[in-house]
Amino acid sequence: MAVCLDQITKYYGDKAVLQNFSLTFPERGIVCLYGASGCGKTTLLHILAGLDHAYTGSISGMEGMRCSMQFQEDRLLNWRNLEENIRLVNPDVDLDGLLQTVELDGLQKVMPQALSGGMRRRAALARALGAESDILLLDEPFKGLDFALCERLYPRIYARTEGKLTILVTHDASAAALLGDLIYQLDGPPLYVTRKIPAPLPFLQRLALPEYREERRHWLEETEA
């Protein structure tokens, strides 16, 4: 069942972040919420994750769904090592494989404080990917990561999220251009959809055609409101 947001309104004080906002997500695939920071994307993600109940409107299709999330902040337990942090959300996870995915292999026993900002970001991503879930919510997962590393991460993340719905909040046009099976270009606040852009090619073809990605990236960036 598709996840539907219907007439969601959310205020911070007297400022409307979402006003009668409606959106439909497909059952599976990566949906990119692409737009400038501060337009209300994170608020939307928090509502979807069930962390924010102070809104009006309704959400359907989430009943019984298990969410997993990478927050805008790393939210790691500083008193637990990397392995313990990840096993907290899924004790049976294949840790070695997961850490290879985000290129943190061999760092199981390292404490979060000993990791660089980019490593912590990937640790939080690994935790989100490792949890058992039906819907994956990723809030700027590539923030602070260098381009070459991101290029290696994209296909692995796509492979790991196949078969479920992934909602990826980003203002990185090249990540959106490659990963997004569907891109919602957003602006606000209050949040509104400027464009709905379905990808014309499946992921592997998008990956194999650098010109396509380049063209899309330019297009997304130029048309950014």
Partner: protein, 254 residues
């Protein structure tokens, strides 16, 4: 370098001790009345007499068990109340004023009241419990409320089981508050407990020894027992904080 500092610390502690012992001796000589002030030498001699006696150790351990029974009961009860009031505002409305009253009431009033209700052997346990309970409650509640909301949200999204939430998120953030509560509570329990023993005079108690020394004008005994109380309090505090430090290392890695 560390060794040097440690050595230095011991030397300064010893010098401070010698200074106060010398001052004591000077006051003793100036006053020159054994009933008012005992000499350091006599007091140390009396402690030397007491230490090998089995009765001394029995007295000390029974006082210890009673007072620390109260202390640990207060820690447990304080934790339960803190968990309750942190999450249930209505419970807080009932509990908070009661504990504020307990905090503000002079310990002597409680001791005299409790003497009417309880047997003298239970008195010091009850009094140390009552004195330390508000300390544990307020500190532990503050610890619970200061727990990182972002981490709790994270645990919510990932449906981390309640037991793990307590163990992995709440406990590590409460632990420093627990250490603070112990640090201020331990001396408080010990002093209030001994005061309760002085007034209740249960058999085999430090308080009874202090009371008898006062009644029979045995100033040397009075000084000796008081010094013993002080030394025991210092040893216990150091030992307890050392153990807590170990637990903290295990739970928070710092």
């Amino acid at each position: 370098m560390k060794r040097f500092i440690t050595k230095n610390k011991w030397i300064s502690a010893l010098l401070a001790l010698l200074f106060w012992a010398a001052l004591w001796q000077i006051i003793y000589l100036a006053v020159d009345q054994d009933v008012l002030i005992a000499s350091p030498a006599d007091v140390l001699g009396r402690i030397g007499d007491l230490l090998p006696a089995a009765e001394f150790w029995r007295t000390v351990s029974l006082s210890f068990i009673r007072i620390f029974g109260g202390f640990f009961a207060a820690a447990a009860m304080g934790a339960i109340l803190a968990a309750g009031t942190a999450f249930l505002p209505s419970l807080r409305m009932i509990i908070a004023p009661a504990l504020s009253v307990v905090k503000a009431t002079p310990v002597a009033s409680f001791i005299l009241l409790a003497l009417v209700w309880l047997r003298s052997s239970q008195l010091s346990l009850f009094i140390s419990f009552l004195m330390v309970l508000p300390v544990f409650w307020s500190n532990l509640e503050a610890g619970i409320l200061a727990t990182d909301r972002e981490l709790l949200e994270m645990a919510n999204v990932f449906r981390v089981p309640a037991r793990k939430r307590v163990q992995e998120i709440y406990l590590p953030s409460i632990l420093p508050y627990f250490v603070t509560a112990c640090r201020s509570g331990i001396g408080m329990a010990w002093k209030a407990g001994i005061a309760a023993e002085v007034l209740g005079r249960p058999a085999h108690s430090i308080g009874k020894e202090i009371y008898n020394a006062k009644i029979y004008l045995e100033t040397v005994d009075l000084f000796a027992w008081t010094l013993i109380v002080i030394i025991l309090s210092m040893i216990l505090e150091k030992l307890f904080l050392f153990l807590l430090g170990k637990i903290r290392m295990q739970h928070t890695g710092k």
